[in-house]
Amino acid sequence: MSIRDQSYKNYEGTLGAGSPLWWVVATHSLRLHWHFVRSKLLLFPIYFVFILFILATFGERMLAKTFGGGLGADPEAISGFYEYALGYLQVWVVALYFASSGGGVVAEDLRYRTIQLYFSKPLGKADYIIGKFASLFMLGSIVTLIPTLLVVLVRMLVFVPSPSFSDVALKLAAVVGYDIVMLAVMCLMMMALSSLTPRTGYVVLAWAGLMLIPSVVSTVVGLVRTGEEWPGLLSVAGSLGLGLKTLVGYEGFAQPGQLAAEALPEYMTWAPWCVVLALAAGAVGILYWRTSKLEGIA
């Protein structure tokens, strides 16, 4: 019984002329993440927060002009606290967004066995992993890098006539650089968790546990050890936050009457980056272990 009105025709085009395979994986995976309604709905509250940051820039500038302020001799100098807040907020934005839409990045391929189909094509493991990483990175960029760049643009324009413009520009560049590193580490961590189970629900639970439990612990320890910052190193968000401080400077965190130099933390300033690096290395290790276990895949 025929269900067709014409015979099969072979494809006459050239194979191998298309985009690099990692890019193919990235774009199609992004499309799947973006397919969720929640991916789009979450943009409203997230972008609202960034709009508040833009408004805060104008507010800060208005207050500085009206009442004077800032640090030292320059009444318009900036403390770096704004940039810290902008960067630190994004750890939680990414955590929330990935929990909502990114948990299935590898888990869904395992659950629905699409992984065996993909690897029956001329796709290598490296292309697959880089593609999946890129898809998460692009997804995360929608809620971090893109709005951050908007905030940066507005803040730079606002500070153009100010003598502290170069300082603002440097600090904002640090935030953008931090965003890229933070996003890359978070992507690796989410991919590692997602590769461990075919159940997206478990991935989200593990992700929430990884982000929240150490943060609670570090907050409790921080409350006990008043005035010490090292407990932040116990959590992902805390380590990233402390790492961000090394980039934007410690001036904004000095107590009233305390000099900037006295605001330096009690731990080695490179320690947060060591924790971040260890997290990234652990995630890469898990991914390597999981992919090497995939039998029958190129």
């Binding site: 067709r4 099969y8 494809y11 191998g16 066995r113 189909l117 094509k121 039998e295």
Partner: protein
């Protein structure tokens, strides 16, 4: 005739379990049925030919490219339709096929256009923008075929393509396979349904415990047993069985009083009448046994298993008193 693949003493094991035991075969272009019981090594063979599994020993060439070096080039020229469901339910059919095409190296535009063509071809034109989670089993099977064909492969591996289909769906799928094959695409059909093989294939490759037990045309498979006769007697078939066994004649089956008699090489049908006369039984029915593919398959399998058991018995160390 173009050689699809050539294996020489290929061996693949998973730990202690040997899935493929020194496979040597040369398969030419056409439509080939890949048959064998569960655990025979069919899936391992397909994965090996796709370059997804590295074999432990031997040499293999697929579509003129050596494995494992040529794995990616080979996979670009092969289409694979897996047995089980492998789609993300929220994907649309056209997204699925476009993705498959792009993974084979097609440009996004070409893949998108070709995905539409293939979905029309398999009869899913109307459903191409529907999410695949809403598809029936038949539609899922057809969309899997569409993604296997989207990049215009020279060879397609179809793993149980009619699984779960109703008779109408099965006919439609077999019709598609026949049409694809008629357009010069080689097809390797792995299935347990021998009727499907008879409908579509010109040759069959039989595997058992990781070894080739038969490779050839379907006719040759049946011809192996041409000296068989189906015999029915009025009464006392056991007397005829005993008389035939005295004459070194093999009785293969006794199904509800019908005997399937295999004459020795050079044996004439008169031998059966002679045995019947000596046993004083009346032959009511005797015709050359019309071997179905299923029976031929089972016979070949049985012979292979018996030969393996005999070889094991002869190689076992003898017990000394």
């Amino acid at each position: 005739m173009t050689v699809l693949f050539e294996l020489h003493n290929v061996r693949k094991s998973y730990g202690d379990f040997v899935a493929i035991k020194g496979l040597t075969v040369k398969v030419e272009a056409g439509t080939i049925g890949l048959l064998g019981p569960n655990g025979a090594g069919k899936s391992t063979l397909i994965k090996t030919l796709l370059g997804l599994l590295e074999f432990n020993e031997g040499q293999a060439t697929v579509l003129g490219h050596r494995l494992p070096e040529g794995g990616e080039v080979i996979r670009r020229q092969i289409g694979y339709m897996p047995e089980n469901d492998c789609y993300i339910p929220r994907m649309t059919a056209v997204h699925y096929c476009t993705y498959a095409g792009q993974l084979c190296g097609m440009t996004a535009g070409d893949a998108f256009q070709r995905a539409h063509e293939m979905l029309h071809y398999v009869g899913l034109g109307e459903a191409r923008y529907r999410q695949m989670g809403t598809f029936s089993t038949g539609m899922k099977q057809r969309v899997k075929l569409a993604q296997a064909l989207v990049h215009g492969p020279k060879l397609v591996f179809l793993d149980e393509p009619t699984n779960g289909l109703d008779p109408q769906g099965r006919d439609q799928m077999l019709s598609l396979i026949n049409d694809v094959s008629a357009q010069g695409v080689s097809v390797m059909l792995s299935t347990h349904i021998l009727h499907d093989v008879e409908q579509t294939c010109d040759r069959a490759l039989l595997l058992n415990r990781g070894q080739v037990i038969h490779y050839g045309t379907l006719e040759a498979m049946k011809d192996d047993r041409r000296n068989n006769y189906e015999v029915r007697v009025k009464e006392r078939p056991e007397a005829l069985v005993a008389a035939l066994r005295d004459r070194k004649v093999q009785i293969d089956e006794d199904r509800g009083g019908t005997l399937v008699v295999t004459l020795p090489e050079g044996g004439e049908p008169g031998l059966i009448f002679e045995a019947a006369a000596s046993a004083s039984v009346q032959v009511r029915h005797m015709v050359p046994y019309n071997l179905t593919l299923e029976t031929a398959f089972l016979n070949i399998l049985k012979e292979a298993q018996e030969a393996e058991a005999a070889s094991k018995a002869s190689s076992a160390p003898s017990v000394r008193a």
